[in-house]
């Protein structure tokens, strides 16, 4: 890739490799509010319509959980929220005016409890009850939860979140999804112009900078890459499935072994680019609830969507010409524990090479992980 594209990727990487990026600082200097949210099922559109800067929480840069461990007494919780919480205890999330959790999994519920009793001191701490079953009844229920959430934001921050503002935020985020789908389309090429870790950088940056600006930057990147295919030897093409997916390091470890990650179904990546929120719906809260609970309910927390998850992975395998699927779950992640086991069996039954591995949010067992991934690539002829 040319220097121009490389420097644009560098821009996104700088955002995704830090927590307090220049946009956060700038926003705070102008007295804007930043609200962190812990799961993409919580619509950032609501926060944008309130005039806030939504920041999808991550543990970037954390190297221990010493302070958080004082709060998480149970040993059965995964390392992602513990690292995020530890950063908050260290003061790295001091810029937050509010933080919102979903009832996505038990560990996140514990983050909510711990955040409330900790000295972090975020002024607004809120939990949205997020359904674990897809369907019309649950979409209606979730609409109600979002209405309560809207009211709570309005009351605490003394703002008004109108349907009109919500409609505008929905349009902006739909544009982001559309641009990100164009970005993902580049991965379908025989020699993708961007590596999997570059894609992670671009995707993560989208969760921590003003959306309109992000859309403009992404549009520029897509225009400058154009249809360029890079030359070189064809690499083994992997798809990444499972927990989180916000750190470039894990993808780098995989790609340094000679493969290229061309697709993913993770919370910071492929899972959030599907479809669009209905802009025609007169009730934008209903549109947001339906998007999450009925139209795009493939998150592993959804108990009745196992077939849909399998189909999503299988169709990505064929669309992106995936040679093998790499499933990864964070240790103690219950949500992905059973899922990956079942998916593994289903993939093998469909004749698709698959490997599942357990890891920690901050990779402390790089040697083991690379041995396994290398062996997996060798079994596919890599």
């Amino acid at each position: 890739m040319n220097d121009n594209v490389n420097s644009q990727i560098g821009f996104f990487a700088q955002i995704s490799n830090t927590i307090t990026n220049p946009f956060v600082k700038d926003w705070k200097e102008k007295d804007g509010a930043v609200v962190g949210y812990f799961c993409p099922v919580l619509p950032e559109e609501l926060l944008m319509a309130a005039g806030f800067f939504p920041f999808l929480m991550r543990g970037t840069g954390s190297d221990n959980t010493n302070q958080a461990d004082e709060y998480f007494r149970s040993s059965s919780n995964c390392s992602f929220p513990r690292h995020c919480f530890n950063l908050a205890l260290e003061g790295k999330y001091g810029f937050l005016d509010g933080v919102v959790m979903g009832t996505t999994c038990d560990t996140l519920k514990n983050v909510m409890k711990n955040w409330s009793i900790s000295p972090i001191g975020t002024p607004f701490v809120y939990m949205v009850n997020t359904p674990h079953v897809s369907g019309e009844v649950m979409a209606e229920y979730y609409r109600g939860e979002l209405a309560k959430f809207r009211a709570a934001l309005e009351e605490h921050f003394k703002v008004e979140i109108t349907d009109e503002k919500l409609g505008a935020a929905i349009k902006t985020c739909n544009e982001t999804r559309e641009l990100q789908r164009q970005l993902y389309a580049l991965r379908k090429l025989e020699n993708p112009p961007l590596s999997g870790s570059d894609i992670v950088s671009v995707m993560v940056a989208g969760t921590s900078m003003p959306k309109e600006l992000y859309n403009a930057k992404l549009k520029q990147l897509l225009a400058d890459i154009g249809e360029t295919e890079i030359g070189g030897k064809k690499k083994l093409r992997l798809m990444l499935v499972g927990s989180c997916g916000d750190d470039t390091l894990f993808t780098q470890i995989v790609e340094e072994l000679g493969a290229v990650v061309v697709a993913d179904e993770t919370c910071f990546g492929g899972k959030v680019i599907h479809g669009k929120v209905d802009e025609e719906n007169k009730d934008p809260l209903d549109a947001l609830a339906r998007y999450q609970i009925v139209d795009n309910p493939i998150c592993a927390k959804m108990a009745n969507m196992r077939d849909a998850r399998r189909e999503a992975v299988l169709s990505a395998v064929s669309e992106y010409q995936v040679d093998g699927v790499l499933g990864q779950r964070l240790g103690c992640c219950d949500t992905w524990g059973v899922e990956l086991y079942i998916l593994h069996e289903q993939l093998l039954a469909a004749g698709i090479p698959s490997m599942m591995l357990e890891r920690e949010y901050v990779p402390d067992n790089i040697g083991q992980v690379s041995t396994r991934v290398q062996a997996f690539l060798e079994t596919m002829g890599g």
Binding site: D364, G367, T371, A375, E378, T379
Partner: protein, 270 residues
């Protein structure tokens, strides 16, 4: 043609030379803190046994094991999963399941009829179910690793060890010692606990007859018996020293790669 495989494990280094089809096992050397140094020691030992004077006589060298990266004398590295599969299958093509218990890891590999790995599983970072676990227990019991491995210490009335963590299992064993539980019962209990962990790992990878045990822990007679019981099938040990299977697999890869590349003698070290 002369090819060499070198397996740089966490505890020991091993090298194997294949000289015109003849397999020559080197010596087991203790791992140093520098894999490149361990590699040199292991390869030198194998060269000596093969009657060769210099690494320059070797056409191709493949490294494997934890220290496989950044070993300058190797032409390339292959993961230990592929090498253990290759080595065991090379010695006995009827092998379908390889269980390798080394110093700090434990792996189970299921092989297809052509010897290619169909699936594999490895223990996670923890040391339970590895050679290190036995070393810790030998220290606590003051019986030496030989005591843990001895067929004389297999008891019909084993105690139960329920902790899956080496550190917690250590305190569990100390409690048993303090309660004057017979040594044999504790040792058999330890071997059964490891066999239990290893067998569930193996079942995840897929177990099919013939099952072989490789790696240094093949010497543990109590573990072999407990593993056979846990898996419900015979656990075999190949006629060639099972500690060299990773190095042998690497040597077979080296031979294949040299043949493919048409490399002549004297190509090692890049």
């Amino acid at each position: 043609m002369i090819a060499c495989g070198v397996d740089l494990g966490s505890t020991t280094g091993k090298a194997v030379i294949i000289k015109d089809g003849e397999i020559i096992l080197g010596e087991i050397v203790m791992a140093t803190v520098k894999p490149a140094v361990t590699a040199q020691l292991a390869v030198d030992a194998a060269l000596k046994k093969a009657g060769l004077s210099s690494v320059k006589d070797v056409a191709y060298i493949v490294s494997t094991g934890y220290g496989r990266l950044n070993v300058a004398l190797a032409n390339e590295n292959v993961s230990e999963i592929s090498c253990h599969a290759k080595g065991n299958y090379f010695v006995d093509p009827t092998v379908r399941t390889v269980i390798d218990i080394g110093g700090q890891d434990c792996k189970a590999i299921s092989l297809g009829p052509n010897g290619a790995p169909l699936g594999f599983e490895m223990n996670d970072r923890c040391a339970a179910g590895t050679g290190r676990f036995f070393q810790v227990m030998a220290h606590v019991l003051e019986c030496g690793i030989e005591g843990i491995f001895s067929a004389d210490n297999v008891s019909p009335t084993p105690t139960s060890i329920s902790s899956q963590c080496s550190v917690f299992a250590e305190s569990e064993v100390i409690t048993l010692v303090n309660n004057e539980v017979p040594l044999k019962d504790i040792i058999t209990g330890i071997n059964r606990a490891v066999a239990g962990r290893v067998s569930s790992l193996a079942r995840r990878a897929g177990v099919a007859d013939k099952v072989v045990l490789s790696g240094g822990c093949y010497l543990n007679m109590g573990l072999r018996a407990a593993l056979a019981e846990a898996l419900g099938c015979a656990v075999n040990v190949l006629p060639m020293n099972p500690q060299f299977m990773g190095a042998l697999g690497a040597a077979v890869f080296a031979q294949e790669k040299a043949a493919k590349a048409g490399t002549q003698d004297g190509g090692a070290g890049k």
